[in-house]
Each structure stands twice: as structure tokens, then as C-alpha cells.
Amino acid sequence: MKITAAEFKAFLKNVVTMIEEQKDYLCELDRKLGDGDHGVTMSIGWQAVNEKLDGELKDEQDCSRISILAGRTFLSAVGSSVGPLYATGFMRGAKAFQGKLELGDQELKDFWVAFVDGIKERGKAEVGDKTMIDTLHPAAESLQSNFAHTNDFVASFTEAVKAAELGMESTKGLLSKRGRSSRLGERSLGTKDPGAASSYMILNTFLTTIKSAQTV
């Protein structure tokens, strides 16, 4: 498959829309585990990205630059925990696009692997800490190993999103160890981590975006 800058921007636009829809739900999860602002923070950040897409990035064709600027814009608008995390993801991912005229299966795979690696480095969380890493790590693992066999990004990413979903669901049964809810102990059981949820939603939005791009 190939992806154009327009499609990459469509993905970001779809995240904007999706986050507006999921905002209340994400806040609800964070009220149970943390300070209740995750949906608000995501919304503020993605609205800022949206403005950039409609402004400075309107005619931009370089996906690397789009991804870097999306990350930076998100970070400057929100700070918070997820600012540095997602920003690092987009900025690291951008490297996989650098100097590439076309974004094919290989570049897309590299983007998402770098995306996840960046977030891991930035946050230093481990699988099982009840964070977005519980979503992202298994997704990246799955993507890498499937892609190594098939070289088919869409198929591998479809599997990766399934792994992400399982990872996200697994956070319900985990005790918080990182971030604001780490002192909750037993009481953190039973609720999904908000960052695990939002990161799953972002991956899933990418999947639906490229699938609909393919069928067009």
C-alpha cells in the first residue's frame, strides 16, 4: 500500500473527530483512576493540531514535517503526561518518513514502531504498569513480528490493533504503578487506564483511515 500526505492528514483529522466523541468517556476513566482530565487534555491537544492542519500544514506534503509539527503542537498545547508522550511518539515516528518520497508498507511499519519506542523511552513505563504502554507495546510487537513474515502493513497493523485492544483490556486487571493513580492499590482494579484507551483509539483510527483510503 501507499499513503499520501492527504491521507496522513486525514488520519490526524479523524483522530480530532474521534477524540471529541470520546472526550467524556476518557475523562470518566481518568476520574476513576486519576485527576479526571484525560479527555479534556486530549481534546485541547488535538484541537490545536486541527488548527495547524487547517493553517500552516494546509498545503504541506512532507509527512515527516506533518508528524513533527503535529507532535510539537500537541505538546505545546497540553503539557501534561500525555503531551511529552504522544509528542515524542509523533516526532520519533516522523524520522521513519524523513527523506521518503513515498510512504509504503515498510515506512508505515517503521513509523509505528518508532512511535511506540519513543513513548517507551520518554515515559520509562513497563508492560504491566497500567499505562498506555500496555496498549502500545503488544501492538508494536505484533506489528513487527507479523510484518517480518508478511511484509504486508495493512494485515500486520490489523493484527497489531487486535493486540492493542487486548492490551488495553488487560489494564482493567492491573494495579496502577505509574502516574497519578499509582497509589490507588486495589482500588485501581476493574477500571481501564485512560491512556491505554486513548492510545488504542488512535491506532484504531489509523487502521480505519487507511482501510477506507484503500477502498476508495
Binding site: V40, G79, S80
Partner: protein, 334 residues
């Protein structure tokens, strides 16, 4: 919950603007980044810069503590969210007088990452030395063996006070950091929550407690605490908070402390004075000397109901810094 605001998405901008307009002799907003405020007075050449900050919603913290003898600059995040690196970096550049800047902030994942990124950038881009002290006074937020995981709450006031005084007295960066770190190590806070707050953007209560319930150890952003239980009389609540504090940091007869009884937002001064009464009884019974007391809403969680007690053990050096004068819009001491 009803609030006297305009656009919920613009509360932080409008708050900062209003605050800067109210105290033009004390603070000014940076042209480079409107989320950064610095002292309006000319600070001395060679003075170590003191930078504070964190999420908003804790007013008068942190913006209220920029001024003589306290912080030189502050970076203001969204409500309950660390500020991004940009305003931290801009404030750093604005207050650096060539001798470096100390960052003082609460130990939250977001703040650690954003202030950390800003410190790196300050070093790389502007060659400014940055020392950091993470406030970890909240006893309830992690067991003693994992003290480095603890959150920072109202005790940050005393850490800022100590660092601000040391910087004002001309200490160098390493010494300001040492003093601030000592103040943090000598400081413990325990809080209790009674009623929730709500973010302007959601209007939803941050947690739920029954009409007769309180939550011991509740965090400064509504993060769940150690345990829920029936609301007890103020004296018993204070006994519980003091017990946990003094188990964690023993203070012996004859030692000096500073005390802060802090309201979280909607708790009245009347209640805080009643709580202080019991704090004082407990300390005098043990022969511990209260060197200075502070009672009021110094660091809030929007309109949350509840309070915290902070005890800082004072050696000679810290006692001197606690007594050091300060002139900030929201805190003046002669």
C-alpha cells in the same frame, strides 16, 4: 457545578491575564509565551533564578508565589496538567542571571517529563544550568520505602520559601538546590478530602463521597487516597493526619517546626483554625516548638472541600529561611 467563568476552554488564559493586570508591580506576563510569568522587579545580577510551576487550578499556588524572597518565575499549565516545555523554557531564559536556575515542582509524571525536557533544552539551547528539586511531601501517596514515588502537595510552599530565601541571600545554585532538597526531605503533608471539585470543561465531580464520608490521603487533583471512612470530628481527623506524619518523620521534644494547615478550596478558615488548634495541642504535648504557622488556602484543588496539614522540621538554616521576608501578590511576610 456553577462557576463564574466565560469560555471553559479559555479559563487559564483569562485567569493569567486578570492576575497579571491585578498585580502589575509584582509580575509580568512574558511576550514570548503567555503561560510564563516572571517577577516585575529587576532581580540582582548573579542571583540564582527560582522557577516554579505546574498545572493550574491550585491558585493561589503557583502564580501567587512569584515575588521578592520567593520565586522569580512560574510556568502555568492547563488545569491539573503540567505546563509544556515552552513556557518553562521561556521563563528560564527570562530569569537566568548567569548563575543558573532551580526548578521546583511536584513529583508527577507529567511535570517530571515536561520540566525535564525544558531543563535539557535550557542547557542545550541557552547554556543555562538547571538544578531540579521534586517535591514529594504527600505521605499518603507512597510508602516510606518508596519515598521517591511520592507526590508533591501543599508542602511545596515551604520548599519554595526555603529556596527563595536562599537565592535571595545570594547562595549559589548548588546551595540553593541543597537547601530546597533539605526542605523537601524535612517536610511531610497529609490531607483529607470531603467534597469534590469539577473541571470547568466537564462540570463533573472529580470523585464521589457519601454525605457522611471523608477520604484520608486524597490527592491534590482528586486522585483517590488511602481510605474512605465516616467523617470524623476535626480533632480526630487531625490526630490521624498528625499520627501518619510523625510516624513517617519523627520530631522530638525541643525541635522546631513550621506548620501549614491548608484548605483545599471550599473549606472555611474557621475550620482550618479549629484544625490548627488540635495540631498545636499535639505538638506542644510533645514539647515540639512551633516556630511559625500558616493557616489558610495556600494551595487548592479548585473548589474541593478538605484540608491538609504540613509539618516542616527546621534546623537553624531552615528556620532562618522560613523567617526571611517575602513580597508576593498572594503571600507577604515581613
Amino acid at each position: 457545578m456553577k462557576k463564574l467563568i466565560n469560555d471553559p476552554m479559555r479559563v487559564v488564559e483569562e485567569m493569567i491575564e486578570g492576575y497579571a493586570k491585578a498585580y502589575p508591580k509584582h509580575v509580568r506576563q512574558l511576550a514570548e509565551n503567555d503561560r510564563a510569568l516572571i517577577t516585575a522587579k529587576e532581580t540582582r545580577d548573579g542571583k540564582v533564578g527560582v522557577l516554579i510551576g505546574g498545572g493550574s487550578g491550585h491558585e493561589p499556588a503557583f502564580i501567587g508565589y512569584v515575588g521578592d524572597g520567593m520565586a522569580d518565575g512560574v510556568a502555568v499549565g492547563n488545569i491539573f496538567s503540567s505546563p509544556p516545555p515552552d513556557p518553562i523554557l521561556e521563563a528560564t531564559k527570562a530569569i537566568d542571571k548567569g548563575k543558573g536556575v532551580i526548578y521546583i515542582y511536584g513529583n508527577y509524571a507529567g511535570d517530571v517529563m515536561n520540566f525535564g525536557m525544558a531543563a535539557e533544552l535550557a542547557d542545550l539551547e541557552s547554556d543555562i544550568r538547571v538544578g531540579s528539586v521534586l517535591v514529594t511531601d504527600d505521605v499518603a501517596s507512597a510508602p516510606k520505602e518508596e519515598k521517591q514515588k511520592r507526590r508533591g502537595i501543599a508542602g511545596e510552599f515551604f520548599v519554595t520559601k526555603a529556596a527563595g530565601a536562599a537565592a535571595d541571600k545570594g547562595y549559589n545554585l548548588a546551595d540553593v538546590v541543597r537547601v530546597a532538597q533539605k526542605a523537601n526531605d524535612y517536610t511531610r503533608t497529609m490531607g483529607v478530602g470531603l467534597t469534590p471539585c469539577s473541571l470547568p470543561q466537564t462540570g463533573k465531580p472529580s470523585f464521589e463521597l457519601a454525605d457522611n464520608e471523608m477520604e484520608i490521603g486524597l490527592g491534590h487533583h482528586g486522585e483517590p487516597g488511602l481510605e474512605k471512612g465516616d467523617l470524623l470530628p476535626a480533632d480526630q481527623v487531625v490526630e490521624r493526619l498528625m499520627h501518619d506524619i510523625l510516624i513517617d518523620m519523627p520530631v522530638v521534644s525541643g525541635e522546631k517546626v513550621a506548620v501549614l494547615v491548608n484548605g483545599l478550596g471550599s473549606t472555611t478558615n474557621m475550620e482550618l483554625y479549629i484544625m490548627f488548634r488540635r495540631v498545636e495541642q499535639i505538638l506542644s504535648d510533645k514539647g515540639i516548638i512551633i516556630h511559625r504557622s500558616y493557616v489558610g488556602s495556600y494551595s487548592t484543588s479548585l473548589e474541593m472541600g478538605g484540608a491538609s496539614v504540613t509539618i516542616t522540621k527546621l534546623d537553624e538554616e531552615l528556620a532562618e529561611f522560613i523567617d526571611h521576608p517575602a513580597d508576593c501578590p498572594m503571600y507577604v511576610q515581613i
